[in-house]
Amino acid sequence: MSDQEPTPQVKETPPGVTLLNRREFMTLLLGGGATMVLAATLANPLDTFARQILDNPAREAHDGDPNYKWIMIIDLSKCIGCDYCVWACQATNDTTDAMRWNIRVEDQTQLGVKFHLTRPCLHCAHAPCVEVCPVGATYHRRDGLVVMDYDKCIGCRYCQTACPYNARAFNWSERTDVNPRAPEWGTPEVERRPRGVPEKCTFCIHRIDAGLAAGLMPGVDEQATPACVNVCPVNARFFGNVNDPNSTVARILRTKPTLRLREDLGTEPSVYYIPPEGLL
């Protein structure tokens, strides 16, 4: 430690300018640079390695089939705002009114024509929620779907902050309620999520995975198709594998003009909308 009493000092330079000499400065600079380069080089292999040894083995079983790419098309010119898709989703995925995965809003075009917009999770290819999650609890399956590992999540809510579409609902409290839409609109098919984690639409992966395993085709066979798509009374929702050029969704994308929400953000959503008249 320093001396008790500052010794009388005659200084040519004011105190505190004994900076690094050139060699030390260069060492520091090069050392710092080398560390950064090393970190940048190692980041990805390390991450892959960490994933391999630490990943939840149960996840592998539900990691999706890379041969498929699931998309949803919602025809806003058909939608009548009946809320059936909202309620069927609530019954099937067991959500409260405050935590809906699939919501409806009413908006209008430039000409003042009202239209209904329903919004599930958009399953973005460049999903901000996936990019910001500190523990990788939200991730892309091999079929492109954005899903949650509820056992990994720490509940920091950065995904909610980053999502441009408000597509996530947080479990602020322990659930003790009775499902508000069952059994009229379906029965819960998935486990309730615990307190302290956010949740979101999965495109009903439990149906997709079980359906594919049983030889059914999601988007064609109801059992393998998301509840919101099945229930729509005006057939405004379509679901399917866009990798298959003969699928309904691929055909619609080829033949009709569609838009995606906030395309300017580059998130590349998997949900396409057929606009109502006067919107494009």
Binding site: M1, S2, Q4, E5, P6, P8, Q9, V10, K11, P14, P15, G16, T18, L19, L20, L28, T35, A43, L46, D47, R51, M99, V105, D107, Q108, T109, Q110, F115, L117, P128, V132, P134, V135, G136, K152, C153, I154, G155, C156, R157, Q160, T161, P164, N166, R168, F170, N171, W172, S173, E174, P194, R195, G196, V197, P198, L261, R262, L265, P275, L279
Partner: protein, 435 residues
């Protein structure tokens, strides 16, 4: 000002821990802190039992007071890396007089932040997950790792102090370990500086990288965060040094050290203001980005954002205190110096609050229609949120009080009578004054 010696001042041994009789004022202070801690503990347990549903946070505005506490305490702990760097990297050995205090403040800041984060995450039982599950692309992961590592650095820097002034010094192994650590300190300081430069800025990036929210999205956010942390961290270290000295009737650090830190704070404030000015000019004045403009109008209309930004953050938070810090006549007045430190700290906390709230208050608009269908989001912390925040603040104040009392935090501290009261013109080299 410094002439108001503490009534309990006794001819204490200068370098010894500043232990003396217990005054009524000290007891009152402790009782206040313990009351605050109790409120905090009750709130903490209440949230742990009932979950985050008892807060006023919502899906649209999921971060609030606790994130502000967390961001502020990390920024205010930044004095540790600034002064460690000064002492161990830039060889300004004389700043050792205040470096220990800076490290202590840093440790308390970072541990406070950890407490705030612990209660803020929905699954506190999984607080260790970022360490074993890596998402290297996440700026929050990088922050978590840096903060954990940096807390370790601070512990290493604090360990010798702890051993030196407690009964631990009787344990030979600890003493030699502490000596080893002390020898390694330059390396530890470099590591600490690297970690600080990373996470202090990435805390700003937490908001700055979010393209979905144009009001936040900004390349200047990370740099503004670290500049304000350099100013705020050193300002807090300076404030507690001056304040504890005033209350104890001591000169905690030589006057030239106080002057040096004050000037650092002043220049950091100016650098911050320069970048902040250009950041504002580029995004709000010279350009027209509709969402940015609409966002600013929304904030001006529904929140005190404009007032708090210009007066809280800019004028009283940085500009006026910078004048205080850099104008010799004002700087030599200890009360003015403390006031300036307080203004900077308040400005920083207001800035972190504004940063957090602004991006959330402005609603996201993801519908392709033109209707104004998304409501403005509002937030006022719930009582229980205030309770937790009060508890965390009390923790750091209590720990600091006890540390100054029982540990050798200011190695060059001496009774006021033994040191000159006048602190003018110090930069022009002050010869030794007493003895």
């Amino acid at each position: 000002m410094n002439a108001t010696a503490h009534p309990m001042t006794s001819p204490a041994v200068p370098a010894a821990p500043q232990r003396r009789g217990v005054s009524a004022r000290f007891i009152l202070w402790l009782m206040l802190l313990i009351a605050m801690l109790t409120v905090g503990a009750i709130s903490f347990v209440y949230v742990m039992i009932h979950g985050l549903g008892v807060t006023n946070l919502t899906d649209e505005l999921p971060w609030g007071l606790w994130i502000t506490v967390d961001l502020s305490s990390i920024a205010l702990g930044a004095g540790a890396f600034t002064l460690s760097a000064a002492v161990y990297i830039f060889r300004m050995r004389q700043y050792e007089a205040i470096a220990r205090a800076a490290v202590l403040v840093g440790f308390l800041g970072y541990s406070s932040a950890m407490l705030a984060l612990f209660i803020d995450i929905g699954r506190f039982d999984r607080f260790y997950h970022p360490i074993i599950y890596w998402n290297v692309h996440s700026v929050l992961w990088e922050i978590t790792m840096c903060v954990v590592l940096y807390l370790t650095v601070l512990l290493i820097e604090l360990f010798p102090v702890l051993v030196e002034s407690t009964p631990l010094k009787k344990i030979g192994v600890l003493v030699s370990f502490s000596h080893l650590l002390h020898r390694l300190m330059p390396i530890v300081a470099v590591v600490g500086m690297g970690l600080s430069l990373l996470h202090q800025s990435s805390l700003g990036a937490t908001y700055g990288i979010l393209t979905a929210r144009p009001f936040w999205y900004s390349p200047s956010a990370p740099v503004l965060f670290i500049l304000s942390a350099v100013a705020g961290g050193a300002a807090l270290t300076l404030l507690v040094t001056l304040l504890s000295g005033k209350l104890l009737g001591r000169e905690q650090a030589p006057p030239n050290i106080i002057t040096g830190v004050a000037r650092l704070v002043g220049f950091a404030c100016l650098a911050y203001l320069y970048l902040k000015l250009w950041s504002w000019l580029a995004t709000n004045y010279y350009s027209y980005v509709p969402e940015q403009q609409i966002g600013a109008e929304t904030l001006a209309q529904y929140t005190p954002y404009n007032f708090t930004f210009w007066f809280g953050e800019v004028l009283f938070g940085a500009l006026i205190p910078a004048v205080f810090m850099l104008w010799g006549r004002l700087r030599s007045n200890r009360n003015a110096l403390m006031l300036a430190c307080l203004m900077i700290i308040a400005g920083l906390v207001i800035n972190r609050w504004n940063m957090t709230l602004s991006g959330f208050v402005i609603p996201l608009d993801w519908s392709p229609g033109v209707g104004d269908i998304f409501p403005i989001n509002t937030y006022e912390p719930a009582l229980v949120e205030w309770g937790v925040a009060i508890g965390i603040v009390a923790y750091s104040w209590l720990a600091f009080t006890l540390a100054v009392r029982f540990l050798n935090i200011y190695p060059e501290s001496r009774p006021v009578g033994a040191a000159p009261v006048v602190v003018e013109h110090l930069s022009a080299s002050e010869p030794g004054h007493h003895g």
